[in-house]
């Protein structure tokens, strides 16, 4: 079985994000970047399947600027077999990424695509679903457990009322939730060895994909600062404020 995993380079989860002065986006210069944590979980899951003898090859794909090769290399150091870097300097919307991934799927014909359920930078939560739609494949989203069966996979999803278990026919698209696994970090010898693993480079044009944006960003703003609270002396004061200031009772 062949697994395709998509990985995105995002601002590291521990960085305090700052909005650019001109409000067109967030500051990324001199900011630590890492693999999207949900994608790390996707890579980890693929590696575990390979270690269990259930997957023969893991291919990782990342679309974005030159530095994305580092994100691919991280996945290779964790244990993926080879990488594909779709080079593109412009920001990509989920639909564009889904189209790129579809083109890669057409070339690579994997049995499963595993993606993160969302990227922690734009929180779109769309790419996996759009990809499944474009491919006409079944999808299992927000997966917290994944088991390979005969010609199908069983996935457990965390839904409002509890846990939902679905059987998906292969090939299919799966997106990962936090509880699926705890990803490993690459050992130093594996980082050195990963240098020899191949990364193919292609452009969206070569894939014949239209990546023109469909959305216009009007502005990006900092979330409002939390104001300091006030201390009230009596319950009567509280009732008064809830009724007259907050207007909630």
């Amino acid at each position: 079985m062949k697994i395709l995993v998509s990985v995105k380079r995002v601002i590291d989860a521990n960085v305090k994000v700052r909005v650019k002065a001109d409000r067109t986006g967030v500051e990324t210069a001199n900011v630590k970047m890492s693999m999207n944590p949900f994608d790390e979980i996707a890579v980890e899951e693929a590696i575990r399947l390979a270690e269990d003898g259930k997957a023969a090859e893991i291919v990782v794909v990342s679309a974005g600027p030159e530095k994305c090769s580092e994100t691919i290399r991280t996945a290779l150091a964790m244990g993926a077999d080879r990488g594909i870097h779709v080079t593109c300097e412009d920001a990509l919307e989920p639909l564009a990424v889904a189209k790129i991934l579809k083109a890669i799927v057409d070339r690579e014909t994997p049995d499963i695509v595993i993606a993160g359920k969302q990227a922690i930078d734009d929180d779109c939560n769309q790419t996996g679903q759009m990809l499944a739609g474009l491919l006409g494949w079944p999808q299992g989203t927000f997966v917290s457990k994944l088991e390979i069966g005969d010609g199908e996979v069983q996935v457990t999803r965390e839904v409002d009322g509890g846990l939902e278990t679905l059987a998906l026919e292969l090939p299919c698209v799966v997106t990962t939730d936090l509880r699926l696994n705890e990803p490993r970090y690459a050992s130093l010898p594996n980082i050195m060895r990963a240098k020899k693993k191949p990364i193919d480079i292609v452009t969206p044009e070569e894939l014949g994909v239209d990546i023109a944006p469909r959305l216009t960003t009007l502005k990006i703003e900092e979330p409002p600062k939390r104001e300091a609270g006030v201390k009230l002396e009596t319950a009567a004061e509280l009732i008064d404020k809830l009724a007259n200031e907050a207007g909630v009772i």
């Binding site: 991280t74 690459a186 130093l188 010898p189 050195m192 990963a194």
Partner: protein
């Protein structure tokens, strides 16, 4: 080594620290308990082969990258950096001066962490003046027989193999011509007892007694007597870079905690970072860290270029350890009573930092080395 690889390596180190070191450091250190699980993890991620050449199973990292690793680890818990320091000094000495047979026999097992090492130089009656050691190794057939005592030997309890500095001929002039390094695998004729200490806890520092301890003559590093002191002094260039990088790590950790605390702690209606007395401390601490880091980097670059780096490593070690000492005290002051509390990390940095002024050659000795080298390089 590409920038990309270094960046991935440091990223893995950061994760190792966040996941496997930080959560347990405080309690293990308070109990003075050896971090067995951390060591297993270090084996897994390959730290014991960090500077060992790839042809012998190591990573072949340069000193620049190595120093960056040590800095990060020490900012979390300095003792962890000690577990691979003496080990890698020993490995560096074998790699540089050992016979090919010794390299084949030992380096791959050093690199995997299967055999972890220590370096035993100091004795109860001498440390700085190593030519005064009295531990004796006498040739007997195909063996050497060692008798004597060593003191303050890090990794001597959990380590498996020790590079021991001995006198093979006590009558030479100068004395170092009668000094040799033997690789001693733990076994009969060696007893070790643990020493209690102010800081650098958790890691095992012990006193060792050698009584008719037999070592195959094949374990004489380089196969030739009388070279031991030069061999170990060369190895200690890497050790000084390690110790200097530890200083940067501790100094940085003290700065980071102080910067965060000074912005939230308020006195007289404003955060203490707005009081000039605290601003001066923060500025001096940060400047010290930057300067120390640059000195370490310079020393590491000289080391990596293959030139002798004793002066540069000495300067880095001297300066960075003094910055660590200073920053640990300033951080404690900035934290007021919380700095003095054993619930937080600051008092640990304060107890760990002084070792850096003593180990790998005291700072007094570093000044002697620096001055001597200055004069040698600038004759009139």
């Amino acid at each position: 080594m590409t920038d990309e690889q270094e960046s991935l390596i440091l990223d893995s180190i950061d994760r190792f620290i966040a996941r496997d070191v930080k959560p347990v450091a405080h309690d293990l250190e308070a109990a003075d308990a050896y971090p067995i699980e951390i060591v297993e993890k270090m084996k897994e991620i390959g730290l014991f082969g960090a500077t060992v050449a790839p042809e012998y199973g190591g990573l072949g990292l340069g000193a620049v990258t190595y120093a960056r690793i040590v800095e990060r680890v020490s900012a979390a818990w300095m003792s962890v950096a000690g577990i691979f320091n003496a080990h890698l000094i020993m490995a560096a000495v074998v790699e540089r001066f050992g016979t090919e047979e010794q390299k084949q026999r030992y380096l791959p097992r050093f690199a995997s962490g299967e055999l972890r090492g220590a370096v035993a130089l100091t004795e109860p009656d001498c440390g700085t003046d190593l030519q005064a050691i009295t531990t004796r190794a006498v040739r007997d057939g195909n063996d050497y027989v060692i008798n004597g005592a060593k003191m303050w030997i890090t990794n001597s309890i959990y380590g498996h193999i020790i590079a021991v500095l001995v006198k093979t001929d006590p009558g030479t002039d100068p004395p170092h011509k009668g000094m040799s390094l033997l690789l001693v695998e733990k076994g009969d004729g060696i007893s070790v007892s643990k020493l209690d200490k102010l800081g650098y806890r958790g890691i095992d520092t012990g006193s060792m007694v050698f009584e008719d301890c037999r070592v195959p003559a094949d374990n004489l590093i380089g196969g030739e007597e009388g070279r031991g002191l030069q061999q170990i002094l060369a190895g200690m260039e890497l050790g000084r870079i390690n110790v200097a990088a530890r200083g940067v790590g501790i100094a940085q950790a003290c700065l980071d905690e102080s910067l965060a605390y000074a912005q939230v702690r308020k006195t007289f209606g404003k955060p203490i970072c707005e009081h000039q007395a605290i601003q001066i401390k923060l500025a001096d601490m940060a400047t010290g860290v930057e300067a120390a880091r640059l000195l370490v980097e310079k020393a590491a670059r000289v080391y990596d270029s293959g030139q002798r780096a004793d002066m540069e490593a000495g300067m880095a070690k001297l300066f960075a350890s003094e910055v660590a000492l200073k920053n640990s005290l300033e951080a404690m002051r900035i934290h007021g009573a919380y700095g003095y509390s054993t619930e937080y990390n600051l008092e640990r940095y304060y107890r760990d930092a002084p070792l850096l002024a003593i180990g790998e050659g005291t700072n007094e000795l570093q000044r002697i080395i620096i001055a001597r080298e200055l004069i040698k390089r600038n004759p009139v």
